[in-house]
């Protein structure tokens, strides 16, 4: 277990008329090697929650443990925590500032006080991992395309070599190609480097495709925490929270209602295609 969230609540403006409860008694365990997707309606508290995980926001109540040590202890090194738990914000390209891409990626490791060699080694590795061509390393980050900028920014966090990488809607505002590139690169990091991933997303299709654990937030609380297959079965409850299941789930439920003999817990196109083919074959045999 890398991270443990224990009874965490976050209340803004306590005691004033504008009091808002952003998080309500959250309990969570995050284990090594998981690919977790975090979904929820805007304002459900998911962005607030991820900022607690690397200590950017301090909980009003409750505790968070990194490898068994409470991060709110006086002798706990926050900077070190942030290198272990990397957080990529929404539109991360808005944080680029150096004169060239390579220098920008070096910013994180430099803050960790590493040697020059180690800094550059990590920066190279990170840029390679996000698949940014070497010809861009020396160009200004502001001259890159939208998708490239975003990958450079992700490399900036990756260069700190985090054990857990949290990404807050990393594909927002990109075109389909840019979306696929980013997601593929995240999946590769998960597969090849064994980085634990927490992906905040609005796309149920992406969630279904990549995640093996799905956490649903609603009004500051955890509504579901299970495998995507099992969570998407509750698509009617998800709809009440302003969410939805992948379109495939709706297709399968519709088919079942229309009298086809199919299971409804398919969440990807491939699964659904296989299921429909099997059903059609079976029906032929039955005839």
């Amino acid at each position: 277990m890398i991270l443990k969230v224990e009874n965490v609540s976050q209340i803004y403006g306590a005691g004033t008329p504008t009091e808002t409860i952003a998080l309500k008694n959250i309990n969570l365990e995050i284990n090594e090697g998981e690919f977790i997707a975090l979904i929820g309606h805007t304002g459900s508290g998911k962005s607030t929650l991820v900022q607690h995980l690397n200590g950017l926001i301090k909980a009003t109540e409750g505790k968070i443990y990194y490898r068994g040590r409470c991060i709110y202890d006086d002798d706990f090194n926050m900077k070190e925590l942030r290198s272990h738990v990397g957080l990529v914000f929404q539109y991360p390209e808005h944080q680029l500032f150096e004169e060239d891409v390579f220098k920008d990626v070096c910013f994180g490791p430099k803050n960790l006080g590493l040697s020059k060699e180690e800094i550059e080694k990590r920066a190279y590795a990170a840029l390679k991992a996000v698949g940014l061509d070497e010809s861009f390393y020396k160009s200004s980050p502001f001259e890159l395309s939208g998708g490239q900028k975003r990958r450079a920014a992700i490399a900036g966090v990756l260069a700190m070599e985090p054990e857990v990488l949290i990404l807050d809607e990393p594909t927002a505002g990109l075109d389909p190609l840019g979306r696929d590139e980013i997601l593929d690169c995240i999946y590769k990091m998960y597969k090849e480097k064994g980085i634990t991933i927490i992906l905040v997303s609005h796309s149920m299709e992406d969630v279904a495709k990549y995640a093996d654990r799905l956490i649903v937030m609603n009004k500051g609380e955890i509504a579901f925490d299970d495998t995507p297959h099992r969570v998407f079965k509750h698509y009617k409850e998800l709809e009440k929270m302003g969410l939805a299941a992948p379109q495939v789930t709706y297709i399968m439920n519709r088919l079942k209602n229309e009298g086809f003999a199919v299971d409804t817990d398919m969440i990807t196109v491939d699964e659904a295609a296989d299921a429909i083919m099997n059903m059609m074959k079976l029906e032929k045999i039955n005839d």
Binding site: G86, H94, L96
Partner: protein, 273 residues
């Protein structure tokens, strides 16, 4: 920290003061500030304080709220009061210590100075509390319209002001976000010596400027797309029109000013300076 400053904010309410035309409020504030400098004796000051007090009561803005506006200038206030108290030469010396002299005159002067500053801030913040930024800009644009004749781009300046007002909260939020994003990359904005701290602002300021420029260029395009082409031939959705209360307001302000001048002449020997 930025959020704590209440000076310049709007306090939503529906009082006669809130409903006044922004031009009379601007005029009234200006006259009030001038009157504070015209006042030179205890009676004038009492009149000024009474006038402010009545306006505050009518405005329904809580006094606590107005006093909070004084907090950011507390230091300047104390400093100038102390400065006046110890550096004024007077006949009735109470204490002396090197160049510092405390005299009765000095103390009176310091007290007046403090009262003047406090009333000045309270008076002008009362205007911003009771006038929305938009009304204020409209009022300024219209009141200063005559400056256009000498080629001062009044409309453009007012437009800039209202755009700034719209984007300040957005940029504050953005600053917060960028700061957190850089902290997630190990940046440290709090510790270290002054040089280190100034240097640590670079990763915050550059993205902030880039974003402000991007927003500015987006906004310019959006404005152009909506037929914006300067102040020429523009009409107003909410044109400023004087009502009866506004004329009464002008009369009250002028009467007040006359009273202040009268007290200055009549009571010039009562605790004056």
């Amino acid at each position: 920290m930025i959020r704590e400053i209440t000076f310049g904010q709007y306090y939503a309410a529906d009082s006669p003061i809130h409903r006044l035309d922004p031009r009379i409020k601007l005029f009234g504030t200006l006259i009030y500030i001038i009157s504070l400098f015209v006042a030179n004796n205890i009676v004038s000051y009492a009149v000024a304080a009474l006038f402010l007090g009545i306006i505050i009561i009518i405005s329904t803005v809580p006094v606590k709220f107005i006093l909070k506006g004084l907090k950011p200038i507390l230091f300047i206030l104390l400093f100038s009061v102390a400065f006046n108290a110890v550096l004024t030469n007077g006949e009735h010396v109470l204490a002396k210590w090197g160049v510092f002299v405390i005299s009765t005159e000095g103390l009176i002067r310091a007290a007046y100075m403090g009262a003047r500053l406090i009333m000045l801030i309270m008076g002008s913040s009362l205007m911003t509390y009771t006038t929305t930024p938009n009304e204020l800009t409209d009022g300024l644009e219209k009141s200063l319209g005559f400056l256009r004749k000498i080629n001062i781009p009044v409309h453009e300046m007012a437009m800039m002001m209202s755009i700034a007002l719209r984007f300040i909260p957005i940029l504050i939020e953005e600053t917060d976000k960028i700061m957190k994003a850089q902290m997630a990359r190990g940046a440290d904005f709090e510790n270290g010596n002054i040089i280190h701290r100034v240097k640590s602002m670079v990763p915050l300021l550059i993205p902030l400027f880039v974003s402000a420029f991007r927003r500015a260029s987006d906004l310019a395009m959006a404005m152009e797309a909506r037929c914006y082409h300067g102040g020429e031939g523009r009409t107003k959705m909410k044109p400023l029109q004087y009502k009866r209360a506004d004329y009464t307001g002008y009369i009250i302000v002028l009467v007040y000013f006359a009273v202040i001048i009268a007290t200055r002449i009549l009571f010039k020997n009562v605790l004056h300076f």
